[in-house]
Amino acid sequence: MRERPVAAVPAPLIWVLAAILCGQLGLKALEPRPVARAADLPPAPPGITLKLLDLGEPIGVAQLLSLYLQAFDTQPGVSIPFKDLDYARIQDWLDRVLELDPQGQYPMLMGSQVYSQVPDTARQRMILEWTYRRFLGDPERRWRWMAHAAIMAKHRLDDLPLALRYAQELSRHASGASVPHWAKQMHIFLLEDMGEIETAKVLLGGLLASGSITDSHEAHFLTERLNALQKSAEKSSKPSESQLR
């Protein structure tokens, strides 16, 4: 059906339409641009609600939730300080995303790398513990976030025992071929940092003797480390001249 020309429309109507359209655009121009505020982050929806709403597309919903959560901390020019965010709520949101898409790494990255940057030790510990708990859910896939948590515990929190615990858990649970040796050996070097040279020496020697290190460069590096550890152990066991005197 051919339409009648625009000229068939009464001119006053066109003017009224244009005026109302200008009014709408003006109203929107006056409206402030929506800006995320920490206080606006609502509680995460219950898992069962999301299950009902995903309509068989949990991964898509998980990605949308990730982006939604992300919008609460990174706004152009107005980055919300992480310390203003409710970390218990953030953990709930991250949990929901992981429940919908257990193989996705996005929430693990957000937890261990983004939200752990908060300048508040209690919140840092909270989110690192969350990373640890979720690592246990799928160690072979999530080991890298656990390794990052161990590094964060050592360098940011200056908490070597905590870093060691994370590294030991990483070594214990993530033993697959996909996990690189440096991650599995992290606890040994942490022991060395803590002055537990004998323990580190035993662990490193055992690792080399097990034959699981197949890369010649890596084996060479670790042997060098073992030698250095042995020298260090001998040095510490020998009484110094001043002590003999």
């Binding site: 109507l13 339409l17 109302i20 109203l27 641009r33 929506p34 995320a36 992300q70 919008a71 990174t74």
Partner: protein, 256 residues
């Protein structure tokens, strides 16, 4: 344009809804949703009233929009297909009078549906909060009615019109979140794709009402001042006027 003719069309539109048992369907739907919310309340370990109110309010809102939108789309499609529109326009009746009359009737129906949806919430929330929620739902349904009228006038096909109305409603409910997501990135700078997405979201936000600020469940649970309604009222009046003007524009251009 005689107002009596507009009024007559509006009256017959309401009468048609009554005879099509729309109100009975709305009542049954609301009753079923209320019973479902009672069931959910029984399952709750704590905050059972809060949970029931939240679930019921969001379900009532969606059901109201669905019923009103679908009823209008279906009714007007039939009038176009059965040549009822042509018959009416062959009488001494200007095209805007027909459209305004139809919309007047639909607006009354929307108000009725909003009133029925508010009744169960009066049992769960303080009356002032429930009434505020109901008024906001009425405004939201007015916008949905105007969008439906505009879409049928423009497309005259049920499928395309229904798809447009559904897309409009989902976008209007989520445009704030889309705007927030489009402008946030952990990657510094952001590429051209992100910029384009941001502009697109901002452009859409200019043309859409922010329905996420309407009919909020938190008003029932945590309270809200009537000030929250001011913006919704201005936006509704303006947007309904815009859609009706656009629909009349399209109707003028139709060649029957």
């Amino acid at each position: 344009m005689k107002l009596s003719r507009v009024g007559a069309i509006a009256r017959y539109t309401v009468l048609e809804a009554w005879r099509n048992r729309l109100i009975a369907i709305v009542l049954m739907t609301m009753a079923a949703l209320f019973l479902l919310s009672v069931f959910a309340r029984e399952l709750a370990v704590t905050e059972s009233t809060r949970l029931q109110t939240a679930l019921l309010a969001s379900a009532l809102r969606l059901a109201s929009v669905f019923l009103v939108g679908l009823y209008i789309l279906n009714g007007l499609t039939r009038e176009f297909n059965d040549k009822v529109v042509e018959l009416i326009l062959s009488l001494d009746l200007p095209r805007p009078a027909y459209l305004l009359g139809k919309f007047g009737g639909f607006a009354l129906i929307a108000a009725g549906v909003a009133a029925i949806a508010t009744i169960p919430l009066l049992l769960l929330a303080p009356p002032s909060r429930a009434l505020l929620w109901g008024c906001s739902l009425g405004l939201e349904l007015l916008i949905v009615a105007a969008v439906s009228v505009f879409c049928i006038t423009t497309f005259t096909q049920l499928l395309s019109a229904a798809a447009f109305v559904a897309a409009f409603y989902l976008l209007a409910r989520s445009i704030t979140a889309i705007q927030l997501m489009s402008s946030s990135s952990l990657v510094a700078g952001g590429g051209l794709g992100q910029k384009a997405g941001e502009w697109l979201a901002d452009g859409m936000a200019f043309l859409l009402p922010r329905l996420d600020t309407f009919t909020q469940t938190s008003w029932l649970l945590d309270g809200a001042s009537a000030v929250a309604m001011d913006g919704a009222l201005v936006q509704s009046v303006l947007y309904v006027a815009l859609l009706l003007a656009a629909a009349i524009f399209d109707l003028y251009r139709k060649n029957f």
